[in-house]
Assembly symmetry: C2
DNA sequence: AGATTTATTGCCCTTGGTGCCATTAATGTG
DNA sequence: CACATTAATGGCACCAAGGGCAATAAATCT
């Protein structure tokens, strides 16, 4: 990936590795031996760094596959904010969600590789809820602002939960058929999940 | 709770404890020291049993708060099956979901206590996804059967995911205001989550 | 009583994760 | 250049969850 947090000043001992380097090493090992079969020691060794140092870059082993997800949340917030006021709230949210999932194709590990690992590995599936919670919060806050409610009120929360539900269903479908390597299939599936919900509720 | 799996025969050494006894001890400790602050050793000690034995009753520490959730899934399946054919699929699912959450009030630990722990403790929040997956599967299978689709198709999956989304939003709201100790508030909130979704999508 | 069955539990080991802190490698200042 | 300062590295000791294994205990069956 690009790089790590821009350090405030160049003083002190420079960082000896980067998030990107760690992720590359980690994903290579995950592919070889699986997630559970890869120890932090093995990753540290391959990166050429002490095990203890890994914890300065990631809070836990489970956090490695997510990379710097938290950074992307600012982007998501911006996407929501730039939705025009004259479209219905739900439509704006939906559009922002779709846009949010448009990922650059050059990334390593690829978005698909990341998500495949995350959504197929039970430990990671579980751990991801904590990431999702922050993401949902962003939606709840947006919906609350647009509707004059509080973020913790039922409707904003429902909007967050349901948006996540649709995204997850779309991701699982995306990963299910192996042909669709390009991200377009994913965005399309998010749309289809939404229309799926509408027909489900109307039928 | 009532008891453990009915043993096939009465042969062999009898079980020295029960799921119920373990849960009681565990919840007492969780209340005292918190979930993370309670070691399996402490639980084993209070139950009066070896630590190793706990693993014969629960797969992991995280599984203790859920009790025998898997058992209730059969009940859920039955609730879905008994929905009349002439109501729309989504309505039947919704009704079954509501009914599923009507819990006996005499249980120890109480349903509310359980859910409060589960939904407030990050480790448990995460772990619960795995439980939810089975629950969602039940819905997806039902919807698939009723609509002539496959359980892994997009719409049934969306139905499962969205039903879960509504339930979680309702549970969180339920736990948010402390007055509503009786389960009725919960069932009502599930209804309100559903109408919340409808107004969100129509506005 | 002895064979059989089944649950308990202790022992040992691996792994993730944390606290602590000495060490290292850079930049700044006199 | 020497030396203070700053900040990252990584070793060490330790804890807790979890799993494999095997000995043992407590019941029933013949």
């Amino acid at each position: 990936m690009t790089s790590q947090q821009v350090r405030a000043s160049a003083r002190g001992r420079p960082e000896v590795t980067s998030h990107g380097a760690i992720e590359q090493a980690a994903f290579a090992l995950f592919a070889e031996r699986g997630f559970a079969g890869t120890t932090l020691n093995a990753i540290a060794e391959r990166v050429g760094v002490g095990r203890r140092t890994l914890f300065r870059y990631y809070q836990s082993k489970n956090d490695i596959p997510w990379g710097q997800f938290d950074r992307t949340l600012d982007h998501f917030r911006a996407l929501l904010d730039q939705q025009p006021d004259d479209v219905p709230v739900h439509a704006g949210v939906h559009r922002a969600v779709v846009e949010f999932n448009r990922f650059p194709s050059g990334a390593r590990p690829s978005h698909r590789e990341r998500m495949r690992l995350i959504l197929t590995t039970p430990e990671l599936q579980a751990h991801s809820v904590l990431r999702y919670a922050e993401w949902r919060r962003v939606i709840a806050e947006h919906v609350a602002r647009r509707t004059g409610a509080q973020p913790d009120d039922l409707m904003p929360q429902v909007a967050g939960h349901v948006s996540l539900a649709l995204s997850l269903a779309a991701y699982e479908a995306w990963l299910a058929h192996p042909e669709e390597t390009h991200a377009d299939g994913l965005l399309d599936l998010i749309d289809r999940a939404m229309t799926g919900l509408r027909t489900y509720l109307e039928a």
